[in-house]
């Protein structure tokens, strides 16, 4: 059987890749996908630790995370549509309306 620590290591690697995507990419949609990647890394840690402690609570939390991610994706993509309609770009560097 695979020890829980291996899953935690994989989760850490996926999370760091997601952080790198948010920092390095300037396309808002790809930054958004990187956030989904981070959520997914945390989900993996939840499920692995839930098995490690023999409780199903970790799975319930992941269930909620998936639901919240769906809501977040819907609202975020709607915001992107609205931004694109007025600015014709979704490059994070060019969206400087709120920068002082």
């Amino acid at each position: 059987m695979v020890p829980t620590g291996y899953y935690m290591a994989l989760s850490a690697a996926l999370f760091a890749i997601g952080v790198a995507g948010v920092v390095l990419r300037r396309n808002v949609i790809v930054m958004f996908m990187s956030i989904e990647l981070m959520l997914n890394a945390v989900n993996l840690a939840f499920v692995a630790l839930g098995r490690g402690f023999g409780t199903a609570d970790g799975q319930v939390i992941v269930f909620f995370v998936i639901t919240v991610a769906a809501a977040e994706a819907a609202v975020g993509l709607a915001i992107m549509l609205a931004i694109f309609r007025s600015r014709e770009t979704i490059n994070a560097d060019e969206l400087n309306l709120m920068r002082w």
């Binding site: 935690m8 994989l10 952080v19 300037r26 958004f32 991610a69 993509l77």
Partner: protein, 180 residues
């Protein structure tokens, strides 16, 4: 789950996660993300969380990713610059920061208690087990989640709607290339 299968799925998910952030074309990034999600779904099933694995494959890799795909097509973003954009210094420090974060996470998580239970208990990830928990201990959170989804539906319609009086055409024509 045998160790070789875990190794294969872990390598697959990491390579496709790197694909998400390295591909220049957002559609390719999205397909790499779907691959990552499916690999993690199989990992869930291997951990005993069977219901959750299928929910991940159907809802996450199916529905949410299609939403992303629709928006990419709607905004016509297939040909965007990849990681090359931005100043060199920022990219350099971004990569350093991400690598440092990974090291930190490894250092902390290797010391975290992990329970040590390698076999999932009987009926661990079944719908019955999950539903018993969801509709007893987590009932309030469940109901709040339904409210959240309703708010998200209304909010995204309100946000994505064309303002009243707007012309019934496509999005505004793209700006000239020089103005970017």
């Amino acid at each position: 789950m045998p160790l070789w299968l875990f190794g294969f799925l872990a390598a697959l998910s990491i390579v496709s996660a790197l694909g998400v952030i390295l591909q220049a074309n957002p559609v390719h990034s999205l397909l790499a993300l779907v691959m990552t999600l499916l690999a993690v779904a199989v990992l869930f099933i291997g951990l005993g969380a069977v219901t959750l694995g299928f929910i991940q494959a159907i809802v996450y890799a199916g529905a949410i990713m299609i939403l992303f795909l629709f928006v990419i097509w709607l905004l016509n973003l297939q040909a965007e610059a990849g990681i090359a954009g931005g100043r060199l210094a920022r990219r350099f420090f971004g990569a350093i920061a991400a690598a440092a974060l990974m090291g930190e996470l490894f250092a902390i998580l290797s010391r975290a208690p992990s329970g040590g239970n390698l076999e999932a208990p009987a009926g661990y990830g079944s719908i019955h087990n999950l539903a018993m928990l969801l509709f007893s201990d987590y009932l309030v959170a469940f109901e709040v989640t339904s409210l959240l989804l309703l708010a998200a539906v209304v909010g995204s319609i309100a946000l994505a709607r064309r303002p009243a009086g707007a012309r019934d055409g496509a999005v505004a024509p793209p700006r000239a290339a020089g103005s970017r």
